[in-house]
């Protein structure tokens, strides 16, 4: 009777022990571009949206993107569909997606200003918005997204939703937009959209 080949048996045992980790692909690290390119079907190639209520996200501040995407995931930021989508990603994947889009160039809309809609907008901007959304809405940081060159449809929705208490972050934003009429919000939205 042949002796059992222990070294081979141990080898097979080790192989079996490693099989689950070899095939447990749920832990595979997915690249930033692999993760982020799935967003482009709705947000445009490299995050440059073709309009009009879908925001451009390419070139946004990374901290802002992480905060917004995490809030969607946690249900802290109301949404139609983003909450359902972001629940599918781990925190480090959200970080990778945010890094990817923050690294893209900002592409402003090609919309031009419509004079009579905008007469009061620069004044409103200075009075209500400039202290956070600096440089005419071009500046950005973790709390304040860029607005210059963003789609008016999205900005109008964001301001109205904030004013009406549906979705507002940070709190100080609500204090500002609460005084704005629908017409003023529309004027501001078109003003920012036309800025490059």
């Amino acid at each position: 009777m042949p002796m059992p080949d222990w070294s081979r048996a141990i080898g097979v045992g080790l192989l079996i022990a490693f099989v689950p980790s070899l095939y447990a692909q749920t832990d595979e690290v997915r690249s930033a571009s692999m993760l982020a390119n799935t967003c482009a079907g709705c947000h445009g190639t490299l995050g440059a949206s073709a309009g009009e209520v879908m925001p451009t996200i390419g070139g946004m501040d990374k901290g802002y993107l992480v905060a917004v995407l995490s809030d969607y995931k946690l249900g802290k930021r109301p949404s139609t569909i983003m909450g359902r989508i972001m629940q599918g990603y781990k925190d480090q994947e959200i970080n990778a997606i945010a890094s990817f889009y923050a690294a893209q160039p900002w592409v402003s809309t090609d919309r031009v200003a419509v004079a009579d809609q905008l007469a009061e907008a620069p004044v409103l901007h200075e009075r209500y918005c400039e202290s956070c959304h600096q440089d005419g809405g071009r500046g950005q940081d973790t709390e304040s997204p860029r607005m210059a060159g963003q789609w008016a449809g999205y900005l109008q929705y964001a301001m109205q939703a904030c004013r009406d208490g549906e979705r507002c972050h940070p709190r100080k934003m609500r204090d500002r937009v609460t005084d704005l009429s629908d017409d003023e919000i529309v004027a501001l939205a078109h003003f920012y959209e036309s800025q490059k």
């Binding site: 595979e28 692999m34 482009a40 079907g41 445009g44 949206s49 209520v53 879908m54 569909i81 990603y89």
Partner: protein, 427 residues
């Protein structure tokens, strides 16, 4: 792998004279030989994306896109043409944006693929050699499943399941129908292109009937006993259109076995239905090219490695979009978009001799039920044990109790989905 690639290059250089002769635009780049040649067949939701993302990621790869038509007409949103909300021109795109990216766009019909020679043959007589081939052929119809149905009959009993002339035919038939008429939609069994499509179509036509022929009826004869976004559709139909839309499940007799096109009579398993206008959406399988090239299996669809979309049947040929078997992903435009990107990344890795990257896939799909009422379904997917599976806890449909503002936003997002996905494809 490396020897194969080298052989691919050899073939490329031998045949390049012929290719250059037929495509002078390519000749400009001939001074520096491409690092690899990728041919993409089919310029729809999958093929455009694979071509564009390959070319964006690595300009040293020569990408050729072969499409039989000079322009593309989008299926998504074409139900709005039936509802009278838009025309086909608003769904029509050309390929100039991809040409500007350096992709060689060839208008040609592929008649044969020779996997051994890495060669694609066009009806024009052109031959295209490839190191990697992506096939995104869409769907074909299984005419034998319903007796009396054929490609010729479909000219008068349109399916309108590829947007184009048949969409126009069906719209005209609906316009010509008398008030009080009955419009039948025959919905196919799974799997098929655009799972919510027949039910959105019913809503769009009901929107038109409500305004113009309010006594008319819409009956969906379904081969299935359940369908996509079912609860949302049924509640919304009732809310907007009362009892105008009736759904007959397969178990209730909705399975259509035969049709008499002359009398517009549908033969169901229990009874016959006589309609004023009939939209018969046939049983489906992978597009004709997939069948001809032997890329489909006995199911009629194309088995692939779901990590890369490389065919399980032919090496170096990748199948994406509706034609492929992609785990739990539905056959939708967004799925094809997502698969095109995963496939492009896998091909790049293969050209570089690296292992295929870990994939990520998403589906989003909107249906417009009424002018200010949109609903959506989302899916987030990953690979597990070689199969595309749902990421648990993610995705799903719009909430049933969504308020008016949310519904209106979703209708807006449906239009922006279209703006952005088509800009992702064609610019």
């Amino acid at each position: 792998m490396s020897t194969l690639t080298r052989r691919g290059f050899l073939t490329t250089s031998i045949l390049s004279t012929a290719a250059v002769a037929s495509t002078p635009r390519i000749a400009l780049g001939a001074a520096t030989p491409p690092r690899a040649r990728v041919v993409v067949v089919g310029g729809g939701y999958g093929g455009t994306i694979a071509a564009k993302y390959l070319s964006m990621s690595d300009p040293s790869i020569r990408v050729t896109l072969i499409e039989k038509d000079p322009v593309y007409i989008s299926c998504p949103l074409s139900n709005e043409v039936l509802g009278g909300e838009r025309d086909l021109a608003s769904l029509t795109f050309d390929y100039r944006g991809l040409t500007r990216r350096g992709i060689a766009v060839m208008q040609d019909t592929v008649v044969e693929i020779d996997p051994a020679q890495h060669l694609v043959k066009g009806a024009s007589g052109n031959r295209y050699t490839y190191d990697k081939l992506v096939v995104s052929p869409g769907i074909a119809y299984d005419w034998d499943a319903i007796e009396g149905m054929s490609e010729a009959v479909a000219e008068q009993i349109p399916h309108a399941w590829k947007a184009g002339p048949q969409t126009r035919t069906l719209r005209k038939q609906l316009e010509a129908m008398d008030d009080g008429g009955v419009f039948y939609i025959v919905a196919p069994p799974n799997p098929f292109r655009c799972p919510p499509g027949p039910y959105e179509r019913a809503a769009q036509v009901a929107h038109y009937f409500s305004n113009h022929k309010p006594k008319s009826k819409i009956v969906i004869l379904d081969a299935k006993d359940a369908f996509s976004k079912q609860a949302l559709f049924q509640a919304a139909w009732q809310e907007h259109y009362g009892d105008m839309i009736e759904w007959v499940s397969g178990a209730q007799g909705g399975i259509v076995e035969a049709i008499d096109p002359e009398t517009r009579t549908l033969v169901g398993s229990f009874e016959e239905y006589q309609g004023d206008v009939i939209n018969l959406i046939p049983h489906q399988k992978a597009g004709a090219l997939a069948q001809v090239a032997g890329l489909a299996n006995e199911s009629g669809w194309c088995p692939v490695d779901q990590r890369t979309f490389e065919s399980s049947i032919h090496k170096d040929i990748y199948v994406i979009g509706d034609a492929c078997i992609a785990g739990v992903m539905p056959k939708s435009g967004y799925s094809a978009n997502s698969q095109g990107k995963v496939c492009a990344a896998a091909i790049l890795a293969a050209i570089d001799g690296e292992p295929a990257p870990a994939p990520s896939y998403v589906n989003t799909c909107y249906s417009i039920i009424a002018p200010e009422h949109g609903i959506s379904v989302a899916g987030v997917y990953r690979l597990e044990d070689g199969k595309i599976v749902d990421v648990p806890g993610a995705g799903g449909v719009s909430p049933a109790d969504a308020d008016a503002r949310t519904r209106a936003m979703e209708q807006q997002f449906a239009l922006d989905w279209f703006r952005n996905i088509t800009s992702d494809m064609f610019t």
